[in-house]
């Protein structure tokens, strides 16, 4: 491959630069705009050199102090959803990896298929039920809704990872008198930890960013950061772009850092969850 003509090498560099521009530039632009003095945000042509300022962040605190409470809601809901999804998926994934029966196979098939149902269609019948149960606008409701749409992928990822753990290890534990719960907790799950991370990554990103369910099922108490952002974007008094960019930056930076940090698990989970499924 070292004899590639020079123009092909140059073309590859150019294409790579375009790919990076396409992926990263829009994100970088918003982060940079959040640090621009408000009056320069819409400079034409865009100002490249400017003195970074926290003016927009101070503005955000001043006019949308609510944002930080909503960010707290997002955090609680995200952690709750991730914990629920990983626990439920690990239990089910273990069974699907270790036991075979017609009914089990049918239920695994059901789990994959039913998940394809569009969430927006589900909001229709759930709306009256949620009202009737008195769980409208609660953290728990969003946690269950979010987890439901990711337990199928989570279960499949866990099954794929547990499949690769030799079952002789568990049998040895049983022979030593360990119970099923002990064996799973002390033998299987520590070895399946990468799978648990992979299963957790997807639902964590989803729960942190989700808009539709939050839009329909929350109004005040359980309102999440993305929902508040959408309200800032649609403010009747006119959009304060500086504050929007500050809020968007605060919302996106943690999850972006997280995705970069767990990139390996993301790729492993996607390969296990979709190509084989």
């Amino acid at each position: 491959m070292s004899h590639r003509p020079r123009w092909i090498a140059a073309l590859r560099v150019l294409l790579l630069a375009l790919v990076l521009l396409w992926s990263a530039f829009p994100i970088a632009l918003v982060v940079l705009a959040s640090l621009k003095p408000a009056k320069h945000i819409f400079d034409v042509p865009p100002s490249v050199l400017f003195l970074p300022t926290l003016e927009n962040y101070r503005q955000l605190v001043r006019i949308w102090p609510e944002f930080f409470a909503r960010l707290g809601n997002s955090l609680v809901i995200t952690l709750g959803t991730t914990a629920l999804t990983v626990m439920a998926s690990s239990l089910a994934g273990y069974v699907y990896a270790r036991r075979k029966a017609g009914l089990l196979t049918a239920s695994a098939f059901f789990a994959v298929l039913i998940r394809m149902f569009p969430p927006i269609v589900i909001t229709l019948p759930l709306f009256p039920v949620v009202n009737w149960l008195g769980v409208m606008d609660t953290h728990g409701l969003l946690i269950v809704l979010y987890a439901t749409f990711f337990v199928s992928l989570g279960t499949w990822i866990m099954k794929t990872f547990i499949d690769q753990i030799p079952h002789e290890l568990e049998e040895a534990a049983f022979v030593d008198g360990a119970s099923l719960a002990q064996t799973i907790r002390l033998v299987t799950l520590p070895l399946a930890a990468p799978g648990m991370i992979a299963a957790g990554v997807f639902v964590l990103v989803y729960a942190w960013n989700e808009f539709l369910f939050a839009f329909i099922f929350t109004t005040t108490r359980a309102k999440t950061a993305p929902l508040l952002l959408s309200e800032m974007l649609g403010a009747v008094t006119g959009v304060d772009w500086g504050a929007v960019f500050a809020a968007a930056t605060i919302q996106l930076v943690p999850i972006l850092v997280f995705v970069i940090a767990v990139q390996k698990y993301l790729i492993a989970g996607l390969t296990a969850g979709s190509v084989k499924g």
Partner: protein, 289 residues
């Protein structure tokens, strides 16, 4: 090994969530689609009236055509870009981990922030992308007033947002093709184009189908991007099916009509997926013989 009762207990949290939150509600939607129903009014059986009303509604057809057109552009746009970038990366790039992180970055962004970003890029006054379009002598994207431009912006945004998914599926599949196959093809005298066609595309076909199928199903229900950018406006010209459903239910309180739309969405996306898989498989096997 045969499962014991404890094993059924272990799958029950997952199954109960799916049954309680998706399966039973989906049946209820089916039932509701044959009823006339609104707030403070007992449901009343009306047969297929909701479906008839749906098919007679020009806004529904507009939403359907919009959805089908932009879903196809999005899915195939992603496929071509994802394949191109996957092959570029498989050929070796400097600092691969860093480069991969950058290409994956849009995956971490929420739909709302993505809309903030693309709105800013294409602001009528001061948007950088509109500025660049003017710079190379092209017309600006007047997405807030021109429905076609609005849908173009939705499409661009969706491709940008979901490209990481398609890219990862194709890139990892490409890494799985053994180098020997290319060497063998080269020894047999295949040129680069023949290698691409007979080795790369052929062996990537399962991954391509997976990516297409998933993206078809998920793009078909697109809601947030359209809702946050145009709310389906101006004058309901940029609605997609999910936005039509949302308005029928939560703005006009026609739950029967909304339910019929819901089932139409489910059936249509399944039909598209099935038809698509059939055609694709047939082509695959026709190629073999």
């Amino acid at each position: 090994m045969k499962p014991r009762p404890i094993h059924y207990l272990m799958i029950s949290p997952v199954q109960l969530m799916l049954i309680g939150t998706i399966f039973l509600p989906s049946l209820y939607v089916g039932w509701l689609s044959f009823q006339k129903s609104s707030f403070g009014q007992a449901a009343q059986f009306v047969g297929l009236a909701n479906y008839a009303q749906l098919l007679a509604d020009p806004y529904f057809w507009r939403a359907l055509v919009n959805t089908v057109v932009i879903v196809n552009v999005i899915v195939y746009g992603e496929l071509i870009l994802g394949l191109a970038i996957g092959l570029l990366f498989a050929g070796g790039v400097p600092w691969p981990r860093l480069m991969l992180s950058i290409v994956l970055a849009p995956y971490a962004i929420s739909e709302v922030v993505a809309v903030v970003i693309w709105k800013y890029l294409f602001e009528p006054q001061g948007g950088i992308a509109n500025f660049a379009l003017r710079g190379i002598g092209l017309p600006e994207l007047e997405w807030a007033v021109n429905p076609v431009h609005g849908l173009v912006l939705v499409t661009l945004l969706a491709i940008w947002h979901h490209l990481p998914f398609t890219f990862i599926i194709l890139y990892t599949a490409r890494l799985g093709i053994p180098r020997e196959l290319y060497e063998a093809a080269a020894i047999d005298g295949s040129g680069p184009f023949q290698c691409f066609r007979h080795v790369t595309v052929r062996l990537l076909l399962p991954a391509i189908l997976t990516a297409l199928l998933f993206r078809y199903i998920f793009a078909f229900r697109m809601f947030s991007e359209v809702w946050l950018l145009t709310q389906g406006g101006p004058a309901r010209t940029t609605e997609v099916l999910a936005v039509y459903l949302y308005k029928a239910a939560f703005r006009y309180h026609e739950f029967g009509l909304a339910s019929a739309t819901g089932w139409a969405m489910v059936v249509l996306s399944l039909l598209i997926a099935l038809w698509y898989m059939r055609v694709a498989y047939r082509r695959m096997f026709a190629h073999e013989s």
